[in-house]
Amino acid sequence: MASDGAAVFAPTGGARRFRANLLVVLAVVALLLALIPLIAVFGYVFVNGIRSLLSLDFLTQDPPADLSATGGGVRNALVGTLEMTGLASVIAVPIGLGVAIFAIEVGGGLARAARFLIDVLSGLPSIVVGIFVYATVVVTQGHFSGFAGSLALAIVMLPVVTVSAEEILRLTPRPIAEGARALGLARWRAILSVFVPIGLSGIVTGVLLGVSRAIGETAPLIFTSLGNNFFTLDLNQPMQALPLLIYRNALNSAYASARDRAFGAALLLILIVFGFNLVGRWLTARRRLAGSRR
């Protein structure tokens, strides 16, 4: 004999169903609200910047001495940004990973102090970092330089890399960590050969976050790399960067050429960050082993 469905499974009340649906609606609204500025900013920059970017000269030529003049490109700023961010990563990533590993594997008061300082650092306005490097490096050396700029960017990156690496390494599953211990592996070996590979995609994401943060910074560079209207690879020289170029051209946006240059450079910057993220994801995804169910 078939039972009455409602008698076996008590029906969900209307009020409860309403609350569940309401939450879904609120979540979707929140998502849309979060997406609007993102899409609006990207769309606005894209529409205004794509015309500059479509010309190859934009990437291969330096800007004209007079910002109001048409033509020229942002080669010096592009190369300067890549060079300084690259050096900043070389400085910040090993230190950040080291602090994260220390905090997890050694722990104790020193690790907590280090973690606290890193947290303070992440809250520091980036212009303060710029002034600090100005006072310690630029003044000591007697001139602005790409090196000083890299150092300032490294200080900006450091907390991002450290915090994300620490969070990721903390997620190493305990059975895996115990397995490594039970096999008599040295701690550093377990970290480098077991824990870091497991957390690699998360660590790479953290590094990319740090790079994305540093690559768009203007304030730390104003007092350190200063900017340079000419092309240079020499880290001892003042060096141009995309944010600095955007800043300077945007200040002169009364001139259509300067305005277009600023938008083009802004779009280029966004695309670089986007590209880094894609490459990072591709690299970490490719490393998965055949048949792995991760």
Binding site: P175, I176, E178, G179, A182, G184, L185, A186, S193
Partner: protein, 299 residues
Amino acid sequence: MTIRSVRQKVTASPAPNEAEAVAIQVPVGEPSASAAGGAALGDVAITVRDLSAWYGARRVIRDVSMDIRSNAITAIIGPSGSGKSTLLRCLDRMHEVVPGARSSGKVAYQGVDIYDPEIEPAAVRRTIGMVFQQPNPFPTMSIYDNVAAPARFNGLVKGKAAQDELVERCLRQAALWDEVRDKLGHGGTSLSGGQQQRLCIARTLALQPKVLLMDEPCSALDPVATLQIEQLMSNLKSEYTIVIVTHNMQQASRVSDITAFFNMGPDRAGYLVELDDTRTLFTNPKNQLTEDYVSGRFG
């Protein structure tokens, strides 16, 4: 003292005689001279004396004294909370890995105190290997590397040819070779649960340990995989001293030569109730508690 020299110290004693595995086949019903901690069988590999262990302020095992025989399978049975796993973890210094965990008393392997401050815990763990309840192959390593890498990291094997040979030998010992020989490059976690557990056994064997501690190695496995692991243990017993913690009394009676029954005391700390050769313990236990437990009246 370097890790290397400690390892030599731990393993310096003469290898246990393989014939001893036979000596412990005591006929059913034969009154055994054994009492907890003093079984008159085979050679003693591990001596435990007055071992207590704590997690923080909570004592989880109390004053355990027992001898573990070489080239035999010792099963540790008992209800939940009786300290079986903790005891096992004290035998290769894995207990102290947990923050706040400590122990007192003595554990000696071949007469060498494994808690001697001069002894490197890592060296103890290489000689006394452990297999866990949940198979835990390294997820980013291939099947091949899961076996070869720990041995390589510990400096036990050098060169491609030696590694190939080691991987094949250990996978054969773990009865896994035929199933994985064509996919050694696949991820360790691509295997089934039972295969993963055998991979973990192979990985431990690659360190050439003398003792295998197995903490409920089959509890996450299906009956077929369980049977495979049990057969594997029987095959390995001629070369290794095996201690297995199990919830499953049938498993203990199937595979082990000696069984130790643990119970949780009134202070909620586990203690050793009775240790005897397996048949005696299951058919003719001396302690009423043991009788009640093996006949399924509690636990």
